[in-house]
Amino acid sequence: MPFGVLVIGPAGAGKTRFCAALQTYGDVQSRSIHVINLDPAAEDIPYRTDVDVREIVTVDDAMAELKFGPNGGLVYCMEYLLAHSEWLEEKLLAFAPEDTILFDCPGQLELYTHVPVMPRLVALMQRWDTRLCVAYMMDSVSLGEPSKFIAGALAGLSAMLQLPLPRLTVLSKTDLLAPDVLEEFLEIGSATTFLQTCDNRNTKFLKLTTVIANLLDDHSLLSYVPFSIHDEDSPSHVLTYADQLTQYTDEAEVRIPRDIEGEEEEDPDTAFKALMHHHR
């Protein structure tokens, strides 16, 4: 029963590069990390695809042959995948129990709600004995403005509410942020406080903003893991977190890479806690 991380988020959030970076990290650390592409509209893929939904169906085909528009095409492909889930099951069975699998998922929210293909796929995969968690990629540009930050958090929640999985939010592209902005944000560790630092002149929405912030805090939804493809330490940080959620450590302790360069004396758990000091 391999471990899996579903990587979700809007187009351009950095899902694909994230998967690539983690795969590279796995290569370096000799940890077995595989990527499965579940996006039938994916274009150039920078990682080795161990399994690729485009082997069986692509949006381009659906558009060309069945005269769908981009949306209809995507829905068609995902329903096609669901109807042929034994293909995926077969592929998953080939993985070793201690393998970690990243699922590069399509971002369209409709697939989590109106046409709930993704929740159904997750239900199937759980039946096939995979241990899953979901990582929502949120572009760190959203930290620049409180309302954008809330918008990003809620957009992720609208999808994650449909997936019965432990979740983490990855703050992607942190290299594009001024370092102090990121640090301050992680330091604050509370949505309520973060929003208080901002000017909320629009009183009409003040109450709403406050209850949302409280919700984010109460449910530890502000447990953001910073990530950048240009930062060598990012993959190990994210994996530490994901491993906790999938309980990877418990199952396959021997495989944990020790002696990460420059971090010998640091217990991953302590580092993790320091990073996520606001996580329950």
């Binding site: 409709e110 709600t113 109106h114 918008a151 929405f205």
Partner: protein
């Protein structure tokens, strides 16, 4: 009421039709066009969906006249999603021209109706979508009409996600939001409305939901309390794009959101005009910069010549689309009316092609 003190933004109300794929944005666009002609409402129509296969209404401004979606796909070898965003980016770089056209003609129209790409993220999460919304909102009373697929929101969990997303859009675009519950000819909106009015009723529905995907956590319950607050600032209207039911209320909601715009965002803009102007310009400049990078990245030489996929500069097309006649023909069914064939609970459109077939056709 402080109404007397509120300064009113002159000109038309802008309604951005935003919603999940297939929620009925384009059909509603068509319906509004038809009803406007019937009732003599002065409307201006803009289509921003580059991938729309056909727009039954001849829009006054159509992104497809400016950007060739298929050409973008080919030239930049992009997939369908990338091509939508890139087309929108290309168009956004010319949105100043659109604003000029609109500014010139503000006195001629009471409403500006805008259809957006089917892929909701392409508009709400792209730099270009934000640029367009911000440009509009900087001078015109702008609101978002969030189109909800009522039949598909029968499951409380789906309904919740849909509303959470609407709340996300409220924060992203910071504009008055009207939820338009569409397709009420198929599914009456009362269930959804009762959930919005009474979160206990909603909790009961959540608990009783036995659809296979349903799972409920404490997060769902807490979230419903947040939504309760959201519903207080959310206006709603029930419509059928297919039959035209509820469209008269729709106009009233647009007028109401003009007031809300003036009381909140418009007022904000006036209160710190200079400050806002600067920040807004910075935002626009920043988004523009991101767009330029995005567009330039497509081109390995990063030369910024006019992208070949741009087929024409933005233009107003009044000759092809005269404003609707004030007294339109009263015929019960004009050929202009949207024709809708909606199958209740359409079965999944999965066609059983054998794996071999598909493999053969996709291995290129």
């Amino acid at each position: 009421m402080a109404e007397g003190e509120v300064e009113r933004t002159p000109g038309p109300v802008v309604a951005l039709l935003i919603g999940m794929a297939g929620s009925g944005k384009s059909t509603l666009f068509h319906r509004i066009h038809y009803e406007a002609a019937q009732t003599g409402k002065r409307c201006y129509f803009i289509n921003l969906d580059p991938a729309a296969l056909e727009v039954p209404v001849e829009a006054n401004i159509d992104i497809r006249d400016t950007v060739d979606y298929k050409g973008v796909m080919r030239e930049y070898s992009l997939g369908p999603n990338g091509a939508i965003v890139t087309s929108l980016n290309l168009f956004a770089t010319q949105f100043g021209d659109v604003m000029d056209i609109l500014d010139e003609r503000t006195k001629e129209f009471d409403y500006i109706i805008i259809d957006t790409p089917g892929q909701i993220e392409a508009f709400t999460w792209s730099a270009s979508g934000q640029l367009i919304a911000e440009s509009l909102a900087s001078t015109l009373a702008t609101c978002v009409v969030y189109v909800v697929d009522t039949p598909r929101s029968r499951s409380p969990a789906t309904f919740m996600s849909n509303m959470v997303y609407a709340c996300s859009i409220l924060h992203k675009l910071r504009l008055p939001l009207v939820a338009a519950f569409n397709k009420i000819d198929v599914q009456p909106p009362e269930t959804c409305f009762s959930w919005m009015d009474d979160f206990e009723a909603f909790h009961v529905a959540l608990d009783e939901d036995d659809s296979s995907e349903a799972y409920v956590t404490s997060l769902h319950r807490s979230m419903s309390l947040v939504l309760d607050e959201f519903y207080r600032v959310l206006d709603r209207v029930a419509v059928s794009a297919a039959t035209g039911e509820g469209i008269d209320n729709f106009w009233a909601k647009l007028d109401a959101s003009r007031l809300l715009y003036d009381e909140t965002y418009g007022a904000e803009i006036r209160r710190k005009k200079a400050d806002y102007r600067k920040r807004h310009d910075d935002n626009v400049e920043e988004n523009m910069a991101r767009l330029r990078v995005d567009v330039a990245e497509l081109d390995p030489d990063s030369q910024p010549p006019p992208p070949p996929a741009m087929v024409a500069p933005v233009s107003n097309t009044p000759p092809r689309q005269p404003p609707p006649p004030p007294a339109a023909t009263k015929g019960a069914k004009s050929p202009d009316e949207p024709a809708v064939a909606y199958v209740r609970d359409a079965p999944p459109r999965v066609r059983t092609r054998s794996k071999q077939d598909t493999r053969a056709s996709s291995s290129s």
